[in-house]
Amino acid sequence: MPARPLADSTPDIASADFADLVRRYQSMVFSIAQHFLTDTPSAEELAQDVFLQLHATLSTLKSEEHVKFWLRKVTAHRCIDYYRRRKLPQVSLDEAPEPMSPAQSSDPLVARRLQQFVASLPEKPRLIVILRYQEDMLPEDIAAVLAMPVATVKSHLQRSLALLRDKVIRTMGEVTI
């Protein structure tokens, strides 16, 4: 579908667009918040706030791609703000809650543990890992969303993968997949 400037929409179409955008991107926004906060009620509240903010600024967004970029950026920054405001402790491996949907990998335990390990990363590396592996974003795109240098993103990714690998080996032995 070609990009359509949303600013050109009439009020009625804008409303229809907004509802359509919510349905299309609710999973993306909620999942970023859920994987970051590991708390479903908080993630839902945060995701709702993101869409309300989208509703207020919809007329300034120029295209579908712009909306997607905007949603990822605002969700990421709100996750960090929420985390700092509430001074949420980093989730330990034993305390992380179960994910909402059942894991579909051949080994659900691995998936669940990996979510807990990701949730135990510091906030910025955690976001970077989520954007990389949930949204399949390139480091350059992640850098644009988080307003960070690309080298910093790559450095965080490299360190986080090493940490995660180490945690997997230490807690689960030599994992076979």
Binding site: R159, S160, A162
Partner: protein, 193 residues
Amino acid sequence: MSTLTRKLVPLILLLAFPAILRAQELKLPPGVEQLASKAKETVEVNMDGPMLHWASKFLSAEDPEERKAAKLVANLKGIYVRSYEFSDQGAYSAADVEEVRAQFRSPEWSRVVGVRSERDGDNVDVFFKLENEKMAGIVIISAEAKELTFVNIVGPLEVDQLADLGGEFGIPKLKTKPQSSKPMAKADKGEQK
């Protein structure tokens, strides 16, 4: 030259020396400086004392990583990094790297780690500078197959601060103490001093 002048000149030079001496202790040969044009990615950081102090004002007290970084850099006099990443192996000269290493074979520097690996070509050296039994600086030279990195941190760096640096950035805490007489770890025959 009068007796007074002869006595004053060395004093003047001695007083001026700290001003003319650059904080950075690591001098890169021209062959290394030119690598930027060959590298696919170059990172260059040159931050002296005032710049460090200014940049550290923007570190957030709410971010645990930045909070520890602020504490670490509080007394530092400089941080200098050159890192080159190449597409292919063999992009830099071992002789140039050795020229840099040779700068730290002096009594004030101790090589606490010197690893040579013929298996994957990774060579890493870590030098500590001691003044009055306290850390006064560190130099890291990492020569990998497709990456060459020089790090020079200048300043009264406590060993436990170095450990915090390691712990904060996801690195297990170092327990090594600088001992110049301790045999260096070597993966293979590799380089001889």
